[in-house]
Symmetry: none
Subunit: 235 residues, 2 copies
DNA sequence: AGATTAGACAGGTTCAAACAGGTATGTCAC
DNA sequence: GTGACATACCTGTTTGAACCTGTCTAATCT
């Protein structure tokens, strides 16, 4: 509808490259041609090519790195769990429910995470087996507080999803770190919350994601039923 | 800090070697392949190999010695402490011994791995703390049998390293998968082997590596001391 | 005025090659 | 057997070239 006015050259370049990415001609991880090659291909100046690539970069479709080039990242930041260890649910048939335990604003309460002392939005959730009622995951997410979070405290999460809620506020994680280890014994407090036996070993996953400029987006600490969850990675 | 997606070659090399070290394929004290051998294996220049090794050296995972080569200096990462992630490796100074339990030829004896029924070379190893004598890792490696493995049964591994032994026979892994989960209770048999208490929870790591054309190279199943070992990943 | 171009420069990445010096081992003379 | 030496292999270091993105400036087009 509103495409009546002429398209700038950067916009045209971005549109054509975006079509190649979305159609699969250029796939996730592929390198784009170098800027000078794109200059030849589109018969425009390097400035226009660079502006076109900048459009794609802000859309999250590509990422650039000095000395290397531009690379397709389509799919990389769509779902947060695409990269890193993927969580493998070993027994697929179980029906699970989810419940939010709390959504609140507080000073960072979890151990070393790079967010010490900061005010955070805290979201604690559990998932549990419908049949037994025992929780299979306990997940504590912490996000550095921003003024526009007030609404979350009253209205809750959008579509029940924290990452969706953050995304709608322009917060997108593109990189991060993840640690996994065995928690030898479930604490009595967490055991009570989860409806499990204290002292049980659990799989503990900790994950810190960051924006493109390195600012922390979200710190998540999860306790997982070791019988149901494992980690899987391809390399 | 580190934008990891478009990965440089040094970063890729460091990541792959780090995975081998952390999963026990390369063990404490093992010599890494020489730089020129790594040049061939990764098809990169020596500069890139050296930068990759430098990354591992700054992480404290290896130590280099002029005229000798690079050696793994890593006894597991302590990530379950309250002091901070960057200190995770500083406790790696514990002196550890290694012992080979058996090297033999047998029909595949480990659970689902894609090698069912095949004849394999089996190498079982443990590593233990010198002070206590308790094993911190128990590792069972299985490699599809090849005729030129006969010599291994009589002469043992080259430089005590299975990966080196395979490499000298032209077997090099370029990709693979890894699974991690919690073993809720150490079996009495394994407990006896490791000198630990039966019923202890352990971190279990399973790893299947493949050659460039998809043929399985090695299946490794490791039981790791959950207090000493964890998994870490950047993305 | 804004879009576009052309050019120059800085700095990161990678490769190839060469040279220096450390370390282990085999060989030869004694 | 011991010591001296050559040799092979290892890491450390430097250089130069080719190619990449990041940034800036000045001129040109519409």
């Amino acid at each position: 509808m509103s495409e009546v006015f002429p398209e700038t050259k950067p916009e045209r370049i971005a549109r054509l490259l975006e079509a190649e990415i979305r159609s699969g001609v250029l796939q996730d991880g592929d390198a784009l041609s170098s800027e000078s090659a794109l200059v030849e291909r589109f018969s425009v100046s390097r400035s226009s090519v660079r502006k076109g690539l900048a459009i794609l970069a802000t859309k999250g479709l590509i990422r650039k790195r000095v000395g290397l080039g531009s690379f397709v990242t389509f799919g990389g930041s769509v779902i947060d769990n695409e990269r890193g260890w993927s969580l493998a649910l070993s027994d697929a048939g179980v029906s699970m429910g989810a419940r939010i335990l709390k959504i609140s604003r507080l000073a960072m309460d979890l151990a070393p995470s790079g967010l010490e002392g900061e005010d955070v939005l805290a979201v604690d959730r559990i998932r549990f087996r419908e049949e037994t009622g025992a929780a299979v995951t306990l997940e504590r997410a912490r996000v550095p507080w921003r003024p526009d979070f007030d609404q979350i405290l009253t209205d809750g999460l959008e579509a029940g999803s924290l990452s969706r809620t953050l995304e709608s506020r322009g917060i997108v994680a593109v990189s991060g770190e993840e640690w996994a280890n065995v928690l030898p014994a479930l604490s009595p407090e967490d055991a009570a919350i989860m409806g499990r036996a204290a002292g049980e070993p659990m799989l503990r996953l900790r994950r810190l994601t960051r924006t493109g400029d390195g600012a922390p987006v979200e710190y998540v600490e999860s306790l997982l039923d070791p019988g149901l969850f494992g980690l899987h990675m391809e390399f």
